[in-house]
């Protein structure tokens, strides 16, 4: 496991997919900061800027993980890993951990870069404890995204197919998060009258769970600096991580590799 992991990390350092994703996210973060600082008629506080680049994080992570992990299949190196590993589970786990590290790095660098730069241009209303909590939630969200797309790629067994699937799913998750976010941000009263678009009761709980289960939904909450149920969100991430890892191990065990 350690041997496979060190080999994957060695490759990550040289991966064009990883560096492109990181640079792309930093560019998005910079563009968002400039837009928030110049285009708005009102002053935006720092809290509404820090996690803003995460809106595109799901799509960027899907592209990076599927290209990086799929490269093993496209170039055939997965065969060398399978021949010399003790078990297939080790191959799956090493790939998952590498994807988590890659996604975690992209996430951390992007958020810390935004935080570090934006604090000079925006009103600083950020409480350090809350930022630390949200940052940790974002890390668990990026791990969940990494696990999901890594396992999809491993099960596709083909780089092109994996990229198509992962991009499709990430866009689906993005649009779903926009939809659920749109519903959940509605206030009960609008202009003094009851808002007809406001959902309540079991339906609201259901939308909330759906929003938390969707990593892009969590990204939307972070970018608004308003996480509805942080503990539930962390539990959902844990569910994604354990569920996808377990499914990956079981299904990859039976997979015929060409």
């Amino acid at each position: 496991m350690i041997r496979l992991l060190s080999a994957s990390l060695y490759r990550l350092k040289k991966s064009a997919a990883f560096w492109s994703c990181l640079i792309g996210m930093l560019v998005i973060a910079s563009v968002f900061m400039v837009m928030q600082a110049t285009s708005m008629e009102y002053t935006v506080p720092l809290s509404r800027v820090i996690f803003l680049p995460l809106s595109f994080y799901g799509v960027a992570a899907a592209a990076m993980v599927s290209v990086f992990t799929g490269r093993d299949f496209a170039d055939g190196f997965i065969r060398n890993k399978l021949i010399f590993s003790k078990s297939r589970s080790q191959v799956v786990l090493s790939q998952i951990v590498t994807s988590c590290i890659a996604c975690g790095l992209v996430y951390s660098v992007t958020v810390l870069y935004t935080f570090g730069t934006a604090r000079f241009f925006f009103e600083n209303n950020v409480e350090p404890d809350l930022f630390a909590g949200y940052f940790a939630l974002g890390l668990s969200m990026s791990a969940a995204i990494a696990c999901l797309f890594c396992v999809i790629t491993l099960l596709c067994g083909d780089q092109t197919r994996a990229v198509v699937w992962c991009m499709g799913i990430s866009f689906g998750m993005l649009f779903l998060s926009l939809h659920t976010n749109q519903i959940l941000v509605q206030t009960r009263y609008k202009n003094g009258a009851l808002n007809p678009h406001y959902v309540e009761g079991a339906k609201r709980v259901l939308y909330g769970i759906l929003h938390d289960l969707n990593p892009c939904g969590q990204a939307a909450q972070l970018s608004c600096w308003a996480v509805l149920e942080p503990i539930r969100a962390v539990l959902c991430n844990g569910l994604w991580i354990l569920g996808t890892a377990a499914a990956g191990i079981v299904l990859f065990q039976r997979k015929d590799i060409k």
Partner: protein, 304 residues
């Protein structure tokens, strides 16, 4: 004779296609085992099973005496190196970086062996050139270098000369022979290029429709393919007596057939046999190559 690899009634079925159908084969230690068969005969499938890329539907195999499915199989696989179908190399890395990857996977303590491996396969001057800019032959040689990284006792090569130019073919052939003779590495090569295989192999396994049709050594094949006169007579006992008296080399192949490895005076031989009461039914010159031998075994049917 010790065997590195033995398969026992190995079967692999994909949905509606039976790729291997009870295949039994034995690869002797120190040999260059040529695994011959047409496209779709099951050569690559067998190699995938041995390498652990796929699981057999039924049957089993032993690698260095370790049974497939055993927990120790990963230990046995560390004694082998393989190039399955295309060389498993990262295209956006250099030859040296690819070898470093393999060293890390194998958990080797240092990279000291890499320059030697690159030299062995003739890639020591590739420097920072990415593999995607390599020729097919260079990629193939790098694939072999990666397979050799763990200092294996068994090298499995799947169609190693496919797509290579004539010079590339010669280079790969010489490399395989060098590894077999100097490092005593057992080599299992699958190929359908029979002429090329006949320059390398010490043993052959001929496979068709997932079944082993014939296993034989190069000597057996030479004997089977030796130029001779095939005689059909009424009594091979009398024929043997007459040929012995004439000090001619021969081999009785059936009750009425014999192969004669000499150029006798046909008239004298016919007269001698007639005097003993043996009738000559037919005499034909036989000159079989590996190709015609292979076709005679598998029937020369059309491709699937």
């Amino acid at each position: 004779m010790r065997y590195v690899l033995q398969t026992n009634s190995l079967t692999k079925k994909y949905k509606n296609f039976q790729a291997l159908n009870g295949l039994t084969m034995n690869v002797p230690e120190g040999s260059v085992y040529g695994f011959v068969g047409k496209n779709g005969a099951g050569k690559t499938t067998l190699i995938r099973l041995i390498c652990g890329l796929q699981e057999p539907s039924s049957g089993d195999f032993t690698l260095y005496g370790i049974q497939s499915g055993s927990r120790d199989m990963s230990r046995a696989r560390r004694r082998m190196g393989a190039v399955v179908e295309t060389p498993a190399v990262y295209m956006d890395m250099t030859a040296e970086e690819n070898l470093k990857q393999q060293y890390l996977i194998l958990g080797l303590p240092s990279y000291d062996g890499i320059p030697g491996l690159l030299k062995l396969v003739g890639l020591e001057d590739t420097g920072k050139k990415k593999v995607k800019n390599f020729s097919m032959g260079m990629k193939q040689r790098l694939g072999i270098a990666i397979a050799l990284a763990g200092d294996p006792d068994l090298l499995v090569l799947d169609e190693p000369v496919n797509g290579l130019d004539p010079q590339g073919i010669v280079e790969i052939r010489e490399l395989i022979l060098k590894l077999n003779r100097e490092r005593r590495i057992t080599v299992l090569i699958s190929s359908h290029i029979l002429d090329e295989l006949s320059r390398l192999a010490t043993h052959y396994g001929i496979i068709d429709h997932g079944r082993m049709v014939k296993e034989l050594s190069a000597e057996d094949l030479d004997a089977a393919c030796r130029k001779c006169i095939r005689m059909e007579v009424s009594d091979t006992g009398i024929l043997a007596r007459v040929l012995d008296s004439m000090h001619l080399e021969y081999r009785i192949t059936s009750e009425t057939m014999a192969d004669l490895f000499a150029k006798p005076s046909v008239t004298q031989l016919a007269v001698s046999l007639a005097e003993e009461g043996c009738e000559v039914l037919s005499m034909t010159e036989k000159d079989e190559s590996l190709e015609s031998y292979y076709l005679s075994l598998i029937g020369g049917g059309s491709h699937d």
